[in-house]
């Protein structure tokens, strides 16, 4: 028994690859550049967006027939803001250090184009179950890019993964560092994220030529 019908499954599958919010629609770039210097922050950001977009999409979808069209953006903002404040408070209570790392970017989930985009484009016109799947799919698509970028930036920039040294100790010169290897300071600064995202887009488009726009 298939858990999801094929149509529903595509709601989750598409944003992961061929309709990825970051690499194809180029939304949510701001946070992707800002917080991906560490893998941990990337994962937490991905989970936060998963929570906000998953629940937000359902809420908007449930209210879609009673929201007056003229004030729908304000209603959407209130829903996102409520959810983001919950995320923010939970992080502050249980992962204070991490919430400091993410700083303002948790709050800025409100302005993440992916979220408002999905509310407008999908949740306002579809039922709660499909909206939920769409929210999950898009935030997973967003999260997977964040994790890939975070992985490379932390590995090459700091020589760690989730804060655990994997390439040896740069101060005591063990592991790779004994051979003269050094961390790449460029990967820690945000422009590196732009380049890593660019390389992902490059790889994705050369694998799937259909994604290349004609000029």
């Amino acid at each position: 028994m298939a858990l999801l019908s094929k149509k529903d499954a595509n709601l989750i599958k598409d944003p992961l690859a061929d309709n990825n919010p970051i690499t194809i629609q180029v939304l949510g770039i701001c946070s992707a550049l800002a917080i991906t210097a560490e893998l941990k922050a990337s994962v937490v950001m991905a989970i936060s967006v998963l929570f906000v977009l998953g629940i937000g999409n359902v809420v908007i979808s449930l209210m879609r027939n009673i929201i007056p069209s003229k004030i729908r953006i304000i209603v959407q903002l209130i829903v996102v803001a409520t959810l983001v404040i919950i995320v923010d408070q939970v992080l502050k209570a249980f992962a204070y250090e991490l919430s400091k790392t993410l700083s303002v970017f948790v709050g800025l989930i409100i302005t993440n184009c992916i979220i408002m985009g999905r509310f407008e484009a999908f949740a306002l016109g579809n039922g709660p179950w499909r909206s939920f799947l769409d929210g999950i799919g898009n935030s997973l698509g967003y999260g997977i890019i964040l994790v890939i970028v975070g992985f490379f930036r932390e590995l090459l920039g700091s020589g760690t993964l989730f804060g655990i040294p994997v390439l040896g100790n740069p101060i005591n010169k063990t592991g790779l560092y004994a051979l003269g290897y050094e961390n790449n300071g460029f990967m820690i600064i945000p422009p590196a994220a732009l380049i890593v995202v660019g390389i992902i887009i490059w790889v994705q488009r050369s694998k799937n030529k259909a994604l290349i726009e004609d000029n």
């Binding site: 050094e182 790449n184 460029f186």
Partner: protein, 427 residues
């Protein structure tokens, strides 16, 4: 004709046809055409082929760079022995033949500078070949100059693997993603330099990296160091600065491998101007720009606004024209700013582009707290703005002409007297 009577050239042509349409063709052709002119003929239309094709142009720049490279190899050794003497408090007299142009000095150049050149060319051309084979076009000559520039603009103690990583980054991200030679927005050599600077700042600045072995000797009894002129100025160490103006001009100072000798760079620049490879407009306006900015800083110091305790005092009080003698300014202006691909194309644009490069180089040099040099940043910045400058120059020209056209009074056409006469005759 038997095989034996074929010339080497002919054999290569035959091999070339053999490899045609194979995947390896671009790689083979690149080596083939490096030695001989290809036997291709133009297939459509009438064309005039200039002798100064891309390869010749590149070779001219390489020729302008060779004296600088040779000088840098001697200077590598000279700075090394000078630093050792300085550490042992041995006084040292400079003499061109006895202390500078010696085999000892040259040997250090061979073991330190040549590997940089080899790695730069090896890795860069490998990337070019791979891309040419994947994309199925001919290998482009663009890397010939870049590969020579790169070793000349890095500190001598740059680890080779770092250079290799940076070259891969610079060629792929700086050039190939935009479509290869001629399509790049940023100068690839400077992209490589900027990558090294941001990725491994400890290897690109400080007083250790400019002299062979200074990094290895840190903390030992034999420790040596060689602070660049700009480095000393940035720390307000005016007293320690004991290089004369002629030292700075001829290049007997520590610095990136090939940037020290303003004299040879000047000769190279004149050669490039004479052979019409590089734009004199860019060079001249960049020199003017740097002098103007230097004068402004000198003026600020003269007005007494900046106290001697200020972090910027050393660099701001540096005589304005000396900025051209130290650091990479001269090298950048002559060999980097004049890159025809990334620079401005219009004549007026070249003046603006060059002026801003000189102006900003000195400005960044003085105000950059982390690193007392700004030439590569200024040139990269202006590379980005070059198309914008050109756009407005062209637009201004169009507007000027439109205005002229609108204001022109169109006189009623005089009757054509000749035609009238003819008419009269026929009638």
């Amino acid at each position: 004709m038997s095989d034996k009577r074929l010339t080497f050239k002919k054999r290569l042509h035959i091999l070339k046809h053999h490899y045609r349409d194979k995947k390896m063709a671009p790689a083979f052709n690149a080596i083939h055409t490096f030695l001989f002119s290809p036997d291709d003929t133009t297939h459509s239309g009438a064309h005039v082929r200039g002798a100064d094709d891309l390869k010749r142009t590149m070779n001219m720049v390489i020729m302008a760079l060779l004296p600088v490279l040779l000088f840098s190899m001697f200077n590598a050794g000279y700075q090394y022995y000078a630093a050792i003497d300085a550490a042992n408090n041995v006084s040292r007299e400079f003499s061109l033949w006895d202390t500078f142009l010696t085999w000892d000095n040259f040997w250090i150049g061979i073991i330190k500078v040549l590997p940089l050149v080899v790695v730069s060319y090896g890795v860069g051309l490998l990337v070019e070949f791979i891309f040419a084979i994947i994309k199925g076009h001919e290998v482009e000559e663009g890397y010939l100059v870049t590969g020579m520039l790169v070793p000349l603009i890095v500190p001598i103690d740059t680890p080779l693997w770092m250079l290799a990583v940076a070259v891969v980054f610079g060629v792929v991200i700086g050039k190939e993603v935009f479509g290869g030679t001629g399509m790049n927005i940023l100068n690839p050599a400077l992209t490589i330099r900027a990558f090294l600077f941001f990725a491994y700042p400890t290897w690109m600045s400080g007083d250790k990296v400019w002299v062979y072995q200074a990094v290895e000797r840190t903390g030992t009894a034999d420790a040596i160091s060689g602070e660049t002129v700009l480095g000393a100025l940035a720390q307000n160490n005016l007293a320690e600065l004991n290089y004369s103006v002629s030292d700075m001009f001829f290049g007997f100072i520590p610095g990136s491998v090939g940037e020290t000798s303003t004299f040879l760079i000047l000769l190279g620049g004149l050669f490039l101007i004479y052979s019409k490879i590089a734009s004199w407009r860019i060079m001249l306006s960049a020199v003017i720009g740097s002098l103007v900015m230097g004068l402004i800083f000198n003026l600020v110091v003269d007005m007494g606004v900046i106290s001697e305790a200020s972090n910027f005092y050393g660099l701001m009080s540096f005589e304005y024209w000396k900025h051209l003698l130290v650091g990479g300014l001269a090298f950048g202006i002559v060999y980097m700013a004049t890159d025809p691909v990334t620079g401005s194309q219009t004549n007026k644009g070249k003046w603006i582009y060059g002026f801003l490069i000189g102006f900003m180089s000195v400005m960044i040099r003085v105000f950059n707290p982390a690193y007392p040099e700004g030439v590569f940043l200024a040139i990269l910045l202006m590379n980005v703005f070059a198309p914008t400058i050109d756009h407005y120059v062209v637009k201004a020209n169009i507007n000027k002409r439109l205005k002229r056209f609108k204001n022109a009074t169109i006189l009623p056409k005089d009757s054509d007297s000749k035609a009238e006469e003819l008419k009269a005759e026929t009638v």
